[in-house]
């Protein structure tokens, strides 16, 4: 009984909780935890064939062909030999098989490589090198700098001071700092949660010698990260291999399909219906024929026992299903995949989307979405890191009423300062001279910048300083101070060490008055070596100005002027001030501060009040201005995309002012806009009022909605409305939360769609996704989301197409994206060139593919009326087998890989060329109907012209030529030449490859035909090649060639006439451009237009403090409280940065604000 209890207990533990002992393999093995070997491969040698085939036959197309094959094996039904289906099916299966095989071999190789990596294990006090796959749960691992983290580890100790370590999370997030427990060798026991996929959470306890510590996420190193800037660390393996959070997270992602896919599915269903319709007509015809003619024809053509007209009709139905199956060709799916893959490779190979600096080529991570890139109507863009570089440069400053940094050509030489950062540039010599001359205000200014921040320094070798700044603009300020002679060298929790103009100086850090959204400022209180107490404060100008000593009022006026100037240039500004403190007063304040910070209730408010108390009567030093650099070419790209009628919405977590500012600097918001609506209300009613009233007050009624019901799915589509003049809309996260509610979202959408530009600021990742979803659902438009950070992942996954900027901020956005590249400006090439081409190619491909197969198939239909509806084929069976696979496969693939209406430069010259894709003009149900009619016409020509030409005709030596085999040969030759010429008409861009494919395929046709109809083939495979001699005997007849020529001309004549007529009367945009290209052949293309220089806006930009935690207040309001928010210790800012906090932007903030739970 006790044993039973024990077993149950064990079971309970293993399912509910993980229990392990450090360095006790025997104990740990008893739980059968997974070791660190991973397996991402799907098959092994034995399971590959059965498993893969099983998977393949689950695909509808393959199953359909197996069904056909079964039909063909029934002799009463079989109208075609089995090989007509088996050969293509085998080809398709084996191609997929080969692809899956090579994929899986690659995975096996990768697995093997990863599993065989070496890592040092600490076993019984000795370091031993071991393969990754042999690492067990409970082992202690030693990692060295730049090594991958082996498994999910519990950090034990590190080489760095303060027991920090730095890691870079390749897949998950940016650079992070982690804490260790600083116990070098332990024999403790860990109890923790079972394996799960939550990256931001870890709970567990560690017991060492009777003492129990609680463990949280800060002490866990996840597999997939890399150790950076730290010499070594030790970690205890908690989860290994498949149990690691990384592997737990690598589930299947959502499979996106393009609108063409959906249309194709619909069409395939329609085609099935159409097939059934044709077969029904033919089988009814067969019934009638059998009844009227067949009965009397029995003496020549006896029926099988028991067969009558109705049975025959039934069997004929299935026979015709076999014959006419080519309307749903299996090769369609294969070809579509091939050409999408090809077009993806073109994206990968594009040098113009390769970023030299970061050595990053563009990457098509999903290869099945290309053509949708040519149909984008809405772009949702993140701001930071996407539009902007997330690089801050210290550009201007105003010190004691003097403005510095007006650009002069020459860079300032900082060689006098041995600790200066060589990458730093500044263009005003005066400032250096002033610093060198020892001006106290200027020195105080830079001293403040060197002291008042939360940057972590790192000095690997003497004089080589690196700053680990959590936000780039803070780093920019500290670097500026460093170059001007106030080098921030190191810090401990109690001190900050500077090198002031070459003199090492250590300040005692007494308090950090942290930043938050309300305070909009940050202060430090330090004691200098002489013992003087000073408070240094930096913050938003409005906030600082309120707290200035009256003495500074004059200086304030001058500085305000400077600030306005900087804001006009789109710079982010900060005001700097200081104050000397009394020892006594400070002591007293400190006591109360301690009380406040330890109080259990209302701590935030109390702390704020305490801070407020001391941050007053400040003396202004000046202001700094940091440029938030736009990425190269952003305004140009936005202008180009706008010309292509693509709407760009910016969804950012930033503050309204910052977002607006960027909107102006990248030309999305313009001075000449009629009005820019700003929706920033706090109640639902106000938001509704603002949305409805602001836009078109005269038509305040319901938005025009087109309601449709399709297959029981109700959908509402908001139609576009025309407005005169350009408008802009800026809406903040609070208002958006109300506006996204069910009853108001259509109003929002309507207003937003009438505006040229929409900027949503302070939105949460979830809201980003909701906005995308809203447009996706109610606009029936194709959306693209572009972003770089983890906070963009949700919208990248939601949008039809997700684009990741592979930048400095880690890889999570890229990993969930469909396309990735290094710079925002490549977006225009991706859409206007690659997308447009892909769409054009895909549509051409589909139109042509359906055309050639319908034409091919309909000839059978007409022939049915002349062969007693007996399901006799018109063509040779081999021709049926090879038509799609060999004779017409390569030319159409050539067309759909290389075709381009105009080249890339012209595509940029006329972004309007993009419009047909947005309007679905090249392939739609209408286009499909036209193809159907066209094929109908062509097949009539292709059947009846040979029919009439062969009727009662003989060869020039009197012998037979109207026989079935000659007729088949004639019909198939006519068909092949007619469709080839049609392909030629469709081809805009004749490369050598196209020529080769087209002529090659025709030659192959004749070569194969003559070979198969040769004596040798007949004598070897008598029953398979009964067409012996047909080619020789009939293709030498002038009659045949005259017929072929006639059918070809008749097939293309109406097409050419129609196209020419349209070009004359109603030319499409690309006809016009192509005409222009032709005209411009002699005259070279005009140089790319110069875009107007970025307008200097007179608008005051927001005095943005930094990347604020934009949506922090929203989260605290509880509306989107999805992610539990942690409180963090107030005084030291580096205590908490979760590995992959799903409330990401955290690592962007300079100042971690304390948050209420």
């Amino acid at each position: 009984f006790f044993l039973f209890i024990y077993v149950v207990f064990l079971y309970f533990i293993s399912s509910e909780e993980r229990h392990l002992r450090a360095n006790d393999r025997e104990f740990n093995l008893s739980f059968k935890y997974a070791n660190n070997a991973i397996k991402t491969s799907k098959y092994n040698v034995f399971t590959f064939l059965p498993l893969n085939l099983f998977e393949q036959f689950q695909r509808l197309a393959n199953a359909y062909f197996v069904f056909l094959l079964i039909l063909q094996l029934i002799p009463q039904i079989s109208s075609l030999s089995w090989f007509t289906t088996v050969v293509p099916l085998l080809l398709v299966l084996s191609m997929t098989l080969a692809k899956d095989l090579s994929d899986d071999i690659t995975r096996h190789k990768n697995d093997k490589q990863v599993n065989n990596r070496k890592v040092e294990l600490l076993i019984n006090g000795e370091l031993k090198s071991e393969k990754w796959m042999n690492v067990q749960v409970g082992d202690i691992v030693k990692l060295e700098n730049n090594e991958f983290v082996t498994a999910d580890l519990l950090l034990l100790s590190s080489s760095e001071p303060l027991n920090l370590i730095y890691i870079e999370t390749a897949e998950l997030d940016g650079t992070l700092i982690k804490y260790t427990i600083s116990i070098l060798y332990i024999s403790g026991e860990v109890r923790c949660e079972p394996p799960n996929n939550r990256l931001d959470k870890f709970t567990g306890t560690l017991t060492v010698g009777g003492e129990t510590f609680s463990l949280d996420n800060e002490r866990i190193l996840l597999r997939g990260c890399t150790l950076r800037n730290s010499d070594w660390c030790f970690g205890l393996v908690v989860f290994g291999g498949p149990d690691t959070k990384l592997m737990q997270n690598s589930g299947k992602s959502i499979f996106k399909r393009t609108s063409i896919d959906h249309l194709m599915n619909f069409l395939v269903m329609f085609i099935f219906g159409f097939l059934a319709f044709m077969c029904t007509i033919l089988s009814i015809g067969n019934g009638i024929w059998e009844y009227q003619e067949g009965n009397s024809f029995i003496s020549f053509l006896p029926r099988a026992d028991g067969a009558n007209a109705s049975l025959s009709a039934f069997l004929t139905f299935w026979s015709y299903v076999i014959i006419l199956n080519t309307v749903v060709p299996i090769s369609l799916y294969v070809s579509v995949e091939i050409l999408r893959l090809g077009n993806s490779y073109f994206i990968d190979w594009d040098r113009k989307m390769y970023h030299v600096k970061s050595d990053t080529p563009a990457q098509a991570r999903t290869t099945t979405l290309n053509e949708e890139l040519g149909q984008i109507k809405y772009i949702f863009s993140d701001k930071t890191g996407t539009l902007t570089q997330n690089i801050m440069t210290f550009n201007r400053c105003s010190i004691n009423g003097k403005s510095y940094g007006k650009s002069s050509k020459k860079k300032v030489d900082f060689s006098w300062n041995s600790l200066a950062d060589p990458k730093f540039c500044f263009h005003d010599h005066k400032l250096v001279e002033v610093v060198k001359s020892g001006s106290p205000e200027v020195q105080a200014f830079f001293r403040l910048l060197a002291l008042c921040h939360t940057v972590m320094p790192e000095e690997k070798t003497e004089g080589e300083l690196f700053y680990q700044a959590q936000s780039p603009d803070e780093g920019a300020l500290v670097t500026a101070a460093r170059n001007f002679g106030f080098v921030f060298r190191s810090r401990t929790p109690e001190t900050i060490s500077l090198v002031e103009m070459g003199v090492p100086t250590t300040y005692e850090l007494l308090a950090v008055l942290d930043f938050n959204n309300v305070r909009k400022r940050m202060s430090v209180i330090v004691r200098n070596p002489e013992g003087k107490l000073t408070l240094y404060c930096k913050g938003a100008d409005t906030i600082i100005f309120e707290r200035l000593h009256p003495l500074s009022s004059k200086l304030m006026e001058v500085t305000t002027e400077h600030l306005n100037e900087y804001a006009g240039e789109g710079l982010r500004t900060l005001a700097l001030a200081y104050k000397d403190l009394d020892e006594d007063k400070f002591e007293e304040w400190k006591k109360r501060h301690h009380e406040a910070s330890t109080s259990l209730e209302d701590r935030e408010a109390k702390l704020d009040a305490i801070y407020e108390e001391i941050e007053k009567d400040l003396l202004l030093l000046g202001a700094s201005a940091v440029e938030d650099k736009l990425q190269d070419g952003v305004p140009q790209t936005i202008e180009q995309l706008a010309k292509a009628d693509i709407k760009i919405w910016v969804l950012t977590g930033d503050k309204q002012e910052t977002a607006e500012n960027i909107g102006y600097s990248c030309n999305m918001l313009r001075e000449e806009m009629k009005e820019i609506f700003i929706v920033a209300s706090n109640t639902a009613e106000e938001v509704r009022e603002e949305l409805v009233k602001k836009m078109s007050p005269e038509s305040g009624d319901e938005p025009p909605i087109e309601k449709s019901r399709f297959l029981g799915k109700k959908s509402q589509v908001v139609e576009d409305e025309k407005v005169d003049g350009e408008y802009g809309l800026v809406i903040n996260g609070h208002s958006l939360a109300f506006a996204l509610q069910k009853d108001m979202q259509l109003e929002l959408l309507r207003t937003a769609c009438m505006c040229q530009t929409v900027i949503c600021c302070r939105v949460t990742p979830l809201q980003k996704a909701q906005v995308v979803e809203l447009v996706k659902k109610h606009k029936k438009a194709v959306t693209l989301a572009i972003g770089d950070g983890a906070n963009d992942v949700s919208m990248i996954k939601t949008a039809h197409i997700g684009v990741g900027i592979s930048g400095q901020e880690g890889m999570q956005a890229v990993l969930s994206s469909d396309f990735s590249f290094a710079q925002f400006r490549y977006l225009q090439r991706l859409l206007l060139v690659h997308g447009r081409w892909s769409y054009l190619r895909m549509c051409k491909f589909l139109r042509y593919f359906f055309y050639k197969n319908f034409t091919f198939t309909f000839v059978h239909f007409w022939y049915g009326f002349f062969c007693g509806f007996s399901a006799q084929t018109v063509y040779d069976e081999w021709f049926i087998t090879l038509y799609n696979l060999v004779y017409t496969a390569l030319p159409v693939i050539g067309l759909s890989l290389f075709d381009q209406d105009v080249n890339d430069r012209w595509s940029f010259q006329y972004p309007q060329l993009y419009a047909p894709g947005q309007l679905n003009q090249y392939f739609s149900k209408m286009a499909f109907a036209r193809i159907l009619l066209h094929s109908c016409y062509s097949s009539l020509i292709l059947f009846f012209v040979p029919w009439a030409a062969m009727c009662d005709t003989v060869r020039d030596d009197g012998k037979d030529i109207a026989d079935y085999q000659s007729f088949a040969l004639l019909a198939q030759t006519c068909l092949l030449i007619a469709v080839s010429v049609q392909l030629g008409l469709d081809t805009y861009y004749w490369t050598a490859v196209n020529q080769f494919f087209l002529w090659g395929s025709l030659s192959v046709y004749f070569a194969v035909t003559f070979t198969m109809y040769s004596n040798g083939m007949y004598l070897i495979f008598t029953s398979s090649f009964p067409f012996i001699g047909t080619a020789r005997n009939s293709l030498n007849q002038p009659n045949m060639w005259l017929t072929i020529f006639l059918t070809t001309i008749l097939c293309i004549l109406p097409v050419v006439a129609k196209r020419f007529l349209f070009i004359q009367l109603k030319p499409a945009i690309n006809d016009k451009v192509r005409h222009k290209v032709r005209q411009a052949k002699a005259v070279p293309l005009p140089p790319p237009r110069k875009f107007p220089q970025r307008r200097i806006s007179t608008r005051r930009s927001g005095y943005a403090f930094s990347h604020a935690r934009g949506y922090g207040d929203l989260v605290t309001s509880g509306r989107f409280l999805r992610i539990p928010v942690k409180t963090r210790p107030a005084l030291f800012p580096h205590t908490d940065t979760p590995v992959a906090d799903s409330t990401p932007q955290t690592y962007r903030t300079i100042f971690e604000e304390a948050q209420s739970p």
Partner: protein, 369 residues
């Protein structure tokens, strides 16, 4: 299906470029600068302009109309004579034969038709029999044959293909040649007599060799037994087709035209594409350069009426035809070429008009920016 899921390689991917701290030569990931990869392959980019389309229409028109006229004239010049001898009419001499029919009757029914040619046939004349409403292209019919057997394969001779059912075996003996096509072979005999103005009948010599394709005669159809001249012995184990009056080895006395390589048989076995068809029966060769092959005058056609078509309302015809470079008489191609040529020309004119009226305006108009 290519959506991202974890692959071990990605663990590396991020660092392959940046972490090249090892000091090895840094390989950039810059794509190659080839015309193919950069999609800059040199290409010919034709567009439909008035300068190419309109001349093309006119040229096609100008080419097609003469060709059409030539074809039409050629076709019209081909002499052809056709006579229906089905015998559905009471008045027809073959009426009786057509009514009293049985496959197994041993006494052949004969009938004679008289006709006259208004114009002489100068060169070789080709004699055809034509059948209508005969579905030689019916799927079940077309496949009811065994090519291996016809190619002289011994095994197929004894064990014919299943496709031949129900004409595969008879009385437990394999049928040779098996199948519905062979079974329904046309077996009327047509003889042609010239009736002198003075009333004497002279039989016109009909050539029965050289009516089939060379490839059929020499490759596709071969007698079993190799070079064994004794066909009777070769076919001894087989049965004749049910409807046949005599076995396959008695089709002709000439060993070069007997058995499977009998040309009448070969011609029949080349099934027609359409339910109305004609097949070459005999060739009347021109004897000398002076006299026409078939002079003007009266003729009689003596038919040994064996082949029943009345049940399915078929018709039987005898056709005498001359031949030109474009084969037999068929005005279709000529008419079609003339029509298409005219349409092209007309379209050319219309398009030219439209181009002048509207084209310039549209093409010169600029593209709105």
């Amino acid at each position: 299906m290519m959506a991202s899921s974890y692959s071990a390689k990605e663990e590396d991917g991020h660092h392959s470029g940046s972490a090249g701290l090892g000091g090895a030569a840094i390989r950039t990931r810059k794509p190659d600068n080839t015309a193919f990869k950069q999609q800059r392959l040199p290409a010919w980019q034709p567009i439909l302009t008035a300068g190419t389309v309109l001349p093309a229409f006119f040229i096609i028109g100008l080419i097609f109309i003469p060709i059409g006229i030539g074809l039409y004239v050629t076709s019209n010049n081909i002499k052809e004579f056709e006579i229906d001898y089905t015998g559905t009419d009471m008045s027809s001499p073959c009426f009786n034969c057509s009514q009293s029919f049985s496959w197994n009757s041993t006494t052949p029914c004969r009938c004679v038709l008289f006709f006259s040619l208004d114009q002489p046939f100068e060169s070789n004349v080709f004699m055809y029999y034509g059948l209508s409403n005969f579905y030689q292209n019916h799927r079940r019919y077309v496949k009811s044959r065994d090519d291996s057997q016809l190619n002289g394969d011994e095994r197929s001779l004894k064990e014919p293909s299943k496709e031949c059912e129900p004409y595969r075996t008879n009385e437990n003996k394999p049928i040779a040649p098996c199948g519905a096509i062979a079974n329904s072979m046309f077996n009327d005999t047509l003889d042609l007599f010239y009736i002198d103005p003075n009333g004497t009948k002279t039989q016109i010599p009909l050539m029965k060799k050289g009516i089939a394709w060379w490839t059929d005669k020499h490759v596709k159809f071969r007698n079993p037994g190799g070079s064994n001249p004794n066909l009777t012995a070769v076919f001894i184990e087989t049965a004749k087709p049910v409807n046949w009056r005599k076995p396959v080895y008695e089709l002709d006395t000439d060993p070069e035209n007997n058995g499977f390589i009998n040309e009448d048989f070969i011609v029949w076995m080349r099934t027609a594409a359409l339910p109305t068809f004609r097949k070459l029966y005999r060739i009347i060769q021109k004897k000398n350069n002076m006299a026409p092959t078939l002079p003007r005058g009266n003729y009689s056609l003596e038919v040994t009426y064996n082949y029943p078509v009345r049940s399915f309302e078929g018709r039987k015809r005898m056709i005498l035809s001359a031949i030109s470079w474009m084969g037999g008489k068929n005005p279709f191609l000529g008419i079609a070429y003339i029509t298409v040529g005219s349409i092209c020309f007309f379209l050319g004119v219309v398009l030219l008009f439209i181009h002048h009226k509207y084209g310039n305006r549209n093409n010169s108009s600029d593209i709105p920016n």
